[in-house]
Amino acid sequence: MKILVAVKQVAALDEDFEIRADGRDVDPDFLVRDLNEWDDYSLEEAMKIKEAATTPVEVVAVCVGPEDADEALRKCLAKGADRAIRVWDESLADADSIAIARVIAAVARREKPQLLLAGAQASDHAFASTGVAVAALLDWAHAAVITLLDYTSGAKSAVLRRELEGGVLHEMQIETPAVLTLQLGINTPRYASLRSIKQAAAKPIEVLTPADLGMSSAEVGAAGSASRVRRMYVPEKGRAHMIEGSVAEQAARIAQLIRERTGGAP
């Protein structure tokens, strides 16, 4: 039995940041990188299935990203993943979520897992589309934004629960192999101690290129993407300002502002 966990090394903004010269992304010097929070939960879910199993389960973490994404994979290895695969070459730099999904699907075809777990979304770009796109490419069953998963290693189907609007719960059964995208809070991710992270540094990470997976350059990167970032920018600051003074003065000023905005008599 094998579970594939797709993870992403996300970017978070540092205190002050600048936009890249081409205006399409933040300057990478101002980004702090970490494993996507959602992926922490999907790895934990895989580990729970592995630990409850009576027969061996292999948990394989896969990431599409440059070398610094190894850090995210090391964290997965530190928490108990058996193997890690990173797919990259320069052509992937401008890939959108569909092109990324195509790479992950290629890895899934090679690895043939029973389950493919992914986070419901990534905290940086928040497309929430990579996981479901993989399911579409593989033509596997899928369910998104799962808050409870009941799956026994080797079983033909899984039972899961999703939270819908208005507090309605949606319980469903799904045939495997399947792609499941998980919501935060589905479990309590374990702590990766520094010691385990250091030990994980000794474990190998398999690095592949799209070509190794038999993908043509037309399928990946900008060429294989259906969308493109036009620009990234910080909107103009709003005109909020603090009204100071005594309560009476503040009230008078507010009343004055309301009259100005609504065109009422002064």
Binding site: D16, V32, Y191
Partner: protein, 709 residues
Amino acid sequence: MSDTSAVTRVLFEDFAPAAIAVFYLIAAAAIAIFGFGVYQQVRKYRYGTAAEVSGGLSARFREMVGTVLSHRTIARRDRPAGAAHRLIFYGFVLLFLGTTTITLDYDILGPLFHVHFWHGAFYLWFSLVLDVAGVALAGGLGYMMYRRGWLKPPKLDYARPDRKPGDPDYDRSDYRREDWAFLWTLLTIAVTGYLLEAVRLVWLEARPDVWETRWWSPVGAALAAGMRAAGMSAAAGGAWRLGLWWFHGILALIFIALIPFTKVKHIFTAAGSLLLRDPLAAQRLPKVPVEQQRVGAQYITDFTWQQLLALDACTKCGRCHEACPARAVGAPLSPRDVILSLREFANRTLESGVLPAQAELDVHGKGPGQVSMETLWSCRTCMACVEVCPVAIEHVPIIVQLRRKLVEEGEMDPQLKKTLQTIHKSGNSFGESKRKRAAWTKALPFAVKDARKEPVEILWFVGDYASFDPRNQKVSQGLATLLHDAGVDFGILYEGESNAGNDVRRVGEEGLYELLATANIESLSAASFKSIVTTDPHSYNTIRNEYPDFGGRYAIEHYTTLLLRLLQEGRLKIARQLGQRVTFHDPCHLGRFNKGYDAPREILRLIGCELIEMGRCRSNSFCCGAGGGRIWMPDPPGADRPAHNRMREAAAISGLQVFVVSCPKDLTMFEDALKATGNEGQFVVRELIELVREALAREQLAPVPGAAA
């Protein structure tokens, strides 16, 4: 008085040879049982891992003997108990030496060399000294009985804060029974000794050398007088003497035989523990060897043999129980219970000589003898227990070793987990960008030197709280101004500084600690400076005591000694005496850990503050509750907190104006506690730095925001 040169006590007088043989047989059996018991205990300790004992054995031995003879540690914070124990100790030792003397004369020198010295004047003085020793012993035992039976100090209540009434090991009633059995047995031995002495005198009243020298055994002689007055004949005395002789002798032999199996073994284990004490046990935690497979302590056999021995040294005296801040606020932790639990666990699993399956050696959990994670996470690693333990038990490294295993398994508070991840990611516990570490300096009218770029005389290691906490930033600005005004050539490491790691290490995240310590040592080695000064006593402790283990050796001091020097040398000039009524809170890591008690007090004196000490001060200072990583864990809602407890103590000082602290975490903890305990407006919490600034100012400074006037 007739010639007394031949006077002695004839041993086994009137005994049949068979009776003497029976006695020697019983004595040999008792010694054999004792020997087996010792073997069994040593075998138990040998299941422990190797212990590192540094320093010369002779120096250690001298110090141990000094501690034992002076009873210095036993008399601390309980003088009557110390005095009573001293009586028991010296009484027992003298009586034991007396018996040894007789053995030497009768069983060794006599048969081998026909030398006898136990007669005449020596014998008479011997009799007198031992009679007095017996009084001391019985007197000490009597007080201890009075103490246990009537005074009932709360620290001798063995009820456990980490168990519920009804749990099988809740009140440890077996220990109570053992305590009483011990007292009664020893007292019975002493009393029957006197009775035996007395009936012998009655029996031998016709023999002048015995009768005329009887007052050399004053207690025996007085009792004999009473017995004769009550009509006891010489023959009756002889009969009583035979019965009492056997009773006293066999009871004493049983006592000896049982030493290794009962609390009496503390005679040896306490001495051993004192001999092996690590004077920096809490200040410098043990490293994890690179080749070690498991981190910390999971199984009882993960402890060192020294620790296993120390578990057996505990006499349940309750000094740690009384001093523990976690216990004081009702947390499920008493240092004594941790030690006793582990001891019971070790006895159950390691005494038989056959090691049970590994699963049965796991000391984590809620079963009998196990230690729960709630207990371990309650500890503030404030060192109050280690500092006061009269027999040198080192609770803090034991607790941290147990925590290391919990950290490895991730069994900790979610907020703590988050903080550790944050520290890993950003190098500080506030989750702030590294670049913002020195942001507090921007408000200063002068630039603070970047010690990474230019040499400085004093490198100021600022620490997380003093760098990022808004209230503490004001204090940091104050200290920077003081140093600047005094013309001190100082600088800071800017982004090169990371969390010093003191508390990370005490949480038990050794890997993260190593990362932080190594990163800081790297920054420090790249800088050029003469010495380090810290604001934070926690940073001070780890850089001073623990960084050397990682290759970082520096001259270092806490700001209190630096400020004192600047004041004394006149580089900072006091403009006015504050005349405030203050009390001073010793930070654990400055006071107890590093004995920095005097500098802050001297500064307070120089700036004209009237210092009123709290009951718990200096080595007995009461932790604010933030230590050991507890500052990153929420306290249970509704429960009392150490800082609140401390505020109530301070509030009892009449006319108190300022509660002075010299630690950034203290400032945060106590300003919160001041409000929470409703003492806001009664007095204020101030950093010592703020008071010094006030005393230097020609005019009164504006009150510091956050510190209500």
